[in-house]
């Protein structure tokens, strides 16, 4: 095969892969602007009606708020617990550090189904009412390992002599943490928090078992897909996609900060 032909074949292959990856995405975006309720070609013309129906629907609104509440609560809890855990494991656990690390990372490896069922049976046994709070508990367990990984890898690169310097200059251990350690590791913690937010935002399995009667956004979309073909899910999906893109750009900025 000539070099030119080889290049041509590779180009076609690459185009095919990209088409496979992105055509479904583009279809969703395209049909979110469709005039009629059809999901298939022919395309009948442009309209914003599905977006209007998303914004006017109380279901969507309450689901978005529920998702936000769960995600923000999860982020708040995980950031505090995860930072403390990372400091404890990287600084103070001289013996058994690897064991502790492994144990902390286990929940990420557990099947979501298993975690969901385990939590549900726990809540039933302790007679805890299912709510956004119990869903957040599930999300905390599931996202903590990811945050811990980001935070502890930053702390492992942190020179403890910076803290000794601060102590030497008169700072108490708390002041040292507040004025030296925290500001230096903050970009990593923010990056970890963003990861946690995005994991929590579209988590389905654990949420399904632990949330009770309320709906988060992914659960609502799932139920709508099951019930009937409601084209508004194209619109909400497109909105989520846009949100994710903005989000990724934000995360990349922090990740870039991390590497300096």
């Amino acid at each position: 095969m000539s070099a030119r032909r080889q290049g041509w074949v590779l180009a076609v292959y690459t185009a095919f892969v990209f088409a496979f990856l992105f055509v479904p995405v583009l279809m969703v975006v395209l049909f979110s602007f469709n005039k009629t309720a059809s999901f298939t070609f022919p395309f009948h013309g442009w309209s914003l009606q599905w977006y209007r129906s998303v914004f006017s629907s109380p279901d969507y609104r309450s689901a978005i708020f529920a998702s936000l509440k769960v995600a923000l609560l999860t982020v708040a809890i995980v950031t505090v617990i995860g930072t403390l855990a990372a400091i404890a494991v990287t600084r103070y656990a001289t013996r058994g550090r690897e064991t502790l690390r492994s144990i902390l990372l286990v929940p990420a490896a557990l099947p979501g189904l298993f975690l969901g069922i385990a939590l549900l049976s726990l809540f039933i046994r302790t007679k805890t009412d299912l709510s956004l709070g119990t869903a957040a508990v599930g999300h905390v367990i599931y996202t903590l390992p990811y945050f811990f990984l980001v935070a502890s890898s930053r702390l492992l690169r942190f020179d403890p002599m910076l803290e000794e310097s601060a102590r030497d200059l008169g700072a108490s251990s708390f002041t040292t943490f507040r004025k030296v350690t925290l500001p230096i590791i903050a970009p990593a913690l923010i990056a970890g928090a963003l990861v946690v937010f995005s994991l929590s935002w579209d988590e389905v399995l654990i949420t399904f078992f632990t949330i009770g009667s309320q709906n988060t956004l992914p659960l609502l979309i799932y139920s709508k897909v099951k019930q009937a073909s409601d084209p508004s899910i194209n619109a909400i999906s497109t909105l989520l996609l846009t949100g994710s893109l903005v989000f990724i750009v934000g995360v990349r900025k922090f990740v870039a900060d991390l590497q300096t």
Partner: protein, 383 residues
């Protein structure tokens, strides 16, 4: 920067054990206010551990540390009126130069205006005027350590501690900073305790040098004392560039001793503990040896001068000085001569001589030269 508190330090029988192995053993010493004292020794000799105990980063297992009579042994670092310049660059990366230097003052609730005034003064003292707004990432290694020094002295500590602060720098910048550090010491009249493994650094800056080995004091003295009368072979081989040659001590008469050096008997100055018949080593400084082109009549020494015939094995010209290696009496000596006049040639015969009082005989086996850290741990495990 006047009205400085005295800053005298008493280290009383301090011992520190790490995982069963003593890092510092019964260290006992007093450091006077305003003194510049260096702790010198190979890595693993306990000098850094001792410094860190004074700084409050380690706590002794036994003994006490007193600062101006007050017991600070158990005090946490932030409660001690001492400051440290670390070996690595430990400037806070999220703060600029002025914020780094002013860190201690802000912690101590000094007003902003006063802090910025003192920061400016401190930066002038370390020869970095106008660096306030610079980001620390833009500093060279030498500049960063100057800022670290400013960050320490701005708090007017009673004792300034240095943990090999120049060891990561280029030789030239290092020599430059050594001179400046001595000037700064003179300006501040402060007590400086300086840890280093570089004997030239210790000798050139300090009032007194503490040579440490295996966690213990080997010898304390002024640089001149250490150089002229080393108390042990270890000190002799660590300080200056010495030839340490195993010899046989023959007989002794009032302070002078006859030793056999490769079949020739020479006289030398005996130090304490030398016993005729026992192992001994002749310590001969490279710069005390004088080399002359051999004349026909054979070596002829006057009274008090040892003279031997040798052959030049190697010549190294380094500018003001020439380094020779000379084979003489079955051993190879390192000799340093001024490079003025004509140089000796490789392979030529020379008369090798030295004054009797420049040659020191110490007890011990002379085949132990400057111990490496590996030797240290080998020795340590046997203790």
């Amino acid at each position: 920067m006047r009205e400085r508190p005295p800053g005298s330090l008493q280290i009383e029988h301090v011992t520190k054990v790490f995982e069963g192995a003593p890092a510092v053993k019964d260290f006992n010493m007093e450091i006077g206010a305003g003194e510049f004292v260096s702790l010198l020794g190979p890595s693993g000799c306990g000098k850094t551990t001792l410094l860190r105990m004074v700084g409050g980063f380690e706590f002794p297992d036994e003994g006490r540390i007193l600062l101006d009579g007050q017991d600070i042994t158990e005090l946490v670092p932030n409660k001690r009126p001492v400051n440290m310049v670390f070996q690595r660059i430990t400037l806070f990366p999220h703060l600029n130069v002025a914020q780094n230097v002013g860190f201690g003052l802000r912690i101590a609730h000094v007003t902003k205006a006063e802090t910025s005034k003192q920061v400016t003064e401190a930066l002038e003292l370390v020869r970095l005027p106008g660096f306030e707004r610079r980001e620390v990432q833009t500093l060279s290694g030498g500049q960063a350590q100057r800022v670290a020094l400013a960050r320490a002295i701005v708090n007017r500590p009673r004792v300034l501690l240095f943990d090999e602060p120049l060891s990561a720098l280029d030789l030239q910048i290092r020599r430059e900073l050594q001179v400046e550090l001595k000037d700064i010491h003179r300006e501040l009249h402060g007590t400086f305790v300086y840890v280093t493994h570089d004997q030239e650094e210790a000798m050139s800056m300090s009032d007194r040098v503490v040579v440490m080995r295996l966690g213990e004091i080997e010898q304390v003295g002024s640089p001149v004392e250490l150089y002229r009368s080393p108390a042990s072979l270890f000190v002799a081989s660590f300080v200056g560039s010495s030839n340490v040659i195993p010899v046989k001590a023959l007989r002794m008469d009032d302070g002078s001793i006859a030793v056999e050096l490769g079949g020739t008997v020479v006289r030398a100055t005996a130090s304490e503990g030398v016993v005729p018949g026992a192992d001994a080593a002749l310590v001969l400084r490279a710069e005390s040896i004088s080399l002359e082109p051999a004349n026909g009549g054979g070596p002829s020494g006057g009274s008090g001068i040892a003279s031997l015939r040798g052959r030049v094995a190697d010549v190294r010209f380094v500018g003001a000085m020439v380094h020779y290696r000379v084979d003489v009496a079955g051993t190879r000596l390192h000799a340093i001569q001024s490079s003025e006049g004509s140089l000796l040639e490789e392979g030529s015969d020379v008369d090798v001589s030295w004054r009797m009082e420049e040659a020191l005989v110490l007890p011990g086996r002379g085949d132990v030269t400057t111990p490496t850290p590996k030797d240290e741990t080998d020795d340590g495990s046997g203790v």
